[in-house]
């Protein structure tokens, strides 16, 4: 009982709530990428590899742009105005190139799965395997290193203090001072909702996902719609990668996605590809991940604590399966009447 109250005390702090938001960010982006793919009828298994690749390209582009703008002058001795300019240019380049890398990976998947009609699962797996080794290979080419990009001076997306809110106790500590990508991820939830349910493209994406033959019969170009949906999926994977290597930390290290793409996919499944429910599911995973972190300060076996997020994933999937099973039963009962 004492342990439970200790845990409860830890979970009540604003710092904990802030860390939940931070941890949720890459998971949420990956989950949004998963939604766009799933809605067009393709399971994007390559989320993990796409975000890893995006994370690498963001760091490389950012570092090289910064270096180019500085023109070979060391940041320590250069004119402060020039350093600011270089930092901003690096940030922008990292963001753009990281995003493009995410989209490129998704387009590769689209070409194989939609263009060549390969099995999307296998293609996704192949992309993940390729990304695991390929990122190290490219890192070696770009930086001469194989583990972490410590020789690259890459940038970070800005951390934002929200006026007014930052002065409110507790709330300010939780919601202000987060990285731009964290706020952006929640804006993207609304964006995905808007695209899917308020635009013609969204309607086509959903129609193709529900029944491609029906969509085709009314003149929808199924392939084109799937390419568009996967491009969006890659876009969010790109953001996920940037949120890892340019906001969470400011470097790339091999395998740094560490399964976050798959956790994002679980969140998407748990939320049944609905933007709002998926965001809640992603937040739930972020919560359990953060809880596993704080519980390490208590006398609980580490192995048990580290299993919590995964146990939560399993539990979530079981609950989801039972729910959808009940829905199907109800529907059948209605039809039988």
């Amino acid at each position: 009982m004492e342990l439970l109250s200790q845990i409860f005390d830890l979970l009540r702090t604003p710092a904990f709530a802030a860390s939940v938001l931070r941890i949720t960010t890459p998971i949420l982006f990956a989950a949004l990428g998963g939604i766009m793919a799933r809605r067009c009828g393709i399971l994007n298994l390559a989320l993990e590899g796409s975000m890893l690749t995006a994370a690498l390209f963001a760091v490389v582009a950012s570092a090289f742009t910064k270096k180019a703008v500085l023109g070979g002058v060391s940041a320590a001795v250069a004119d402060p105005a020039l350093v600011t300019k270089a930092t901003n240019a690096g940030m922008l380049a990292g963001f753009i190139v990281g995003t493009l890398a995410g989209v490129a990976m998704a387009m590769f998947l689209a070409y194989m799965a939609v263009g060549l009609k390969a099995d999307a699962y296998l293609a996704g797996l192949a992309i993940n395997t390729m990304a695991t080794g390929g990122t190290v290979f490219i890192l070696y080419l770009a930086a001469g290193e194989k583990g972490i990009s410590s020789s690259l001076d890459s940038g970070s997306m800005p951390f934002i203090d929200i006026p007014v809110i930052k002065d409110i106790p507790v709330i300010g500590e939780i919601f202000s001072g987060q990285n731009m990508m964290t706020y952006f991820s929640w804006i993207c939830v609304a964006v995905v909702y808007f695209i899917l349910f308020k635009t013609a493209t969204g309607l086509r994406i959903r129609a193709v996902g529900e029944n491609p033959h029906a969509a085709e019969s009314v003149g929808v170009n199924v392939k084109k719609v799937q390419y568009i949906a996967l491009a969006f999926s890659g876009l969010f994977c790109g953001f996920a990668g940037i949120s890892l290597s340019m906001s969470y930390v400011q470097f790339f290290s091999r395998g740094m996605s560490s399964g976050k793409g798959f956790i994002g996919m679980s969140a998407m499944n748990l939320g049944n590809a609905s933007p709002v429910a998926t965001a809640v599911a992603a937040l739930l995973f972020g919560f359990f991940d953060a809880m596993a972190n704080v519980m390490q300060t208590l006398s609980v076996p580490v192995q048990f604590v580290q299993a919590i997020p995964y146990a939560a994933t399993l539990l979530g999937l079981v609950v989801f399966a039972i729910q959808s099973d009940n829905k199907v039963k109800k529907l059948k009962a209605k039809q039988d009447k």
Partner: protein, 359 residues
């Protein structure tokens, strides 16, 4: 169409394999045949830690023209451990690795070392296993001594009396650091509080950073990472909060000095485990014919394989008084007045009790 697809997929797979194994070490000499053929087997280089250290130690021997050296990177697929070792055992005079695949390397040696009498195997950083075979040499490191000094330093420069420690995974090797760290800190400040956590992997830098932010929130102002490349996230958390970081294995100040000077300046020192130096000595002795087998060869501060990095940043950040205290502790360790217990052979309960004593 299907054939084309199969080709594309095969190409993709092949590329990833090539990428994993890319970058064979250069440096075979012209008169290669007469030289001792040495093979280092690692998962991957680039860890800025002991694999890179081992590689650089052997490259020093290559530069001196003493050995013919190749590094094999087999990637993360541990099912390749045995076959990689079998091939190396047939092709090389000396095969060097750590206990790959969570003990697969020593399991294989226990059964097969006798079948390769011409080959010498060197296993570094595995003190929990020993084999009677005279062609298997274990090299062990007194990381507890390095971290005793690091812990003492952390407690000295901490203003809050709270210091942090993050490990990659719970294992005897990491515990050995931890035991030294806590005891060293307690030697200086008996009331010190040590926040101990584990990332659960050596790659999840984001998680390590979260753990760092959390330890800083708990009051820690010196953060020590023993978590490979993930640990850099922990150091970054210290830097961003204006606190101090302590690196591990190699001198991490050097790694960031050029690219991120501000971050580098927050890394006061690193707790050293110089695998490269030990291999340089042992393999060098083999070439010179002065090598003698022992079940375990231990490397500590007198052998320059343990201790802390005393670079320009250390001199700049640590006051003369504190440095004198550290030197005093090192002198006492050398004289045997302070003996640092090792985590090898300690039970989990004993380690937990130690961690709890600094909570």
């Amino acid at each position: 169409m299907k054939k084309l697809l199969a080709l594309v997929l095969a190409g993709v797979m092949a590329l990833s394999l090539v990428a994993c194994g890319g970058g064979e070490a250069e440096g075979t000499t012209e008169s290669g045949e007469e030289l001792l053929k040495v093979n280092l087997i690692v998962q991957n280089l680039g860890d800025k830690s002991f694999n890179d250290s081992a590689d650089s130690g052997l490259k020093r021997l290559v530069a001196e023209g003493k050995i013919d050296y190749t590094c094999t990177e087999y990637g993360t697929d541990n099912s390749k451990v045995v076959i990689t070792m079998e091939e190396a055992a047939e092709d090389y005079d000396v095969v060097i690795c750590n206990n790959l695949g969570f003990g697969m390397a020593t399991d294989w040696l226990a059964a097969n070392a006798a079948s390769y009498p011409e080959t010498t195997f060197i296993i570094y950083d595995e003190p929990s296993v020993s084999l009677p075979d005279k062609n298997v040499q274990f090299l062990c490191y007194k990381a507890n001594e390095s971290d005793y000094v690091a812990g003492a330093l952390a407690a000295l420069i901490s203003e809050t009396g709270v210091i942090g420690f993050v490990g990659g995974m719970e294992s005897p090797v990491i515990h050995d650091f931890l035991v030294g760290y806590i005891l060293g800190a307690q030697y200086v400040n008996p009331d010190v509080k040590v926040c101990v956590s584990y990332v659960g992997s050596y790659t999840d830098a984001a998680k390590a950073k979260d753990l760092g932010v959390q330890d800083i929130a708990a009051g820690a102002d010196v953060l020590h990472q023993v978590a490979g490349s993930a640990g850099n996230g922990y150091l970054e958390a210290a830097f961003e909060a204006g606190k101090y970081g302590l690196g591990v294995d190699a001198d991490q100040y050097e790694a960031f000095k050029e690219s991120k000077p501000e971050l580098a300046k927050s890394i006061v020192t690193s707790s050293l485990k110089d695998v490269g130096e030990s291999l340089y000595v042992v393999v060098g002795d083999m070439v010179d014919g002065t090598y003698e087998w022992a079940e375990q060869l231990w490397f500590g501060m007198p052998e320059k394989c343990a201790g802390i990095a005393e670079n320009e940043n250390y001199l700049a950040l640590v006051s003369e008084e504190d440095r004198a205290t550290i030197d005093d502790i090192k002198a006492k360790m050398a004289a045997g007045e302070i003996t640092v217990p090792t985590a090898y052979g300690m039970t989990a309960d004993e380690i937990n009790a130690l961690v709890d004593s600094a909570k």
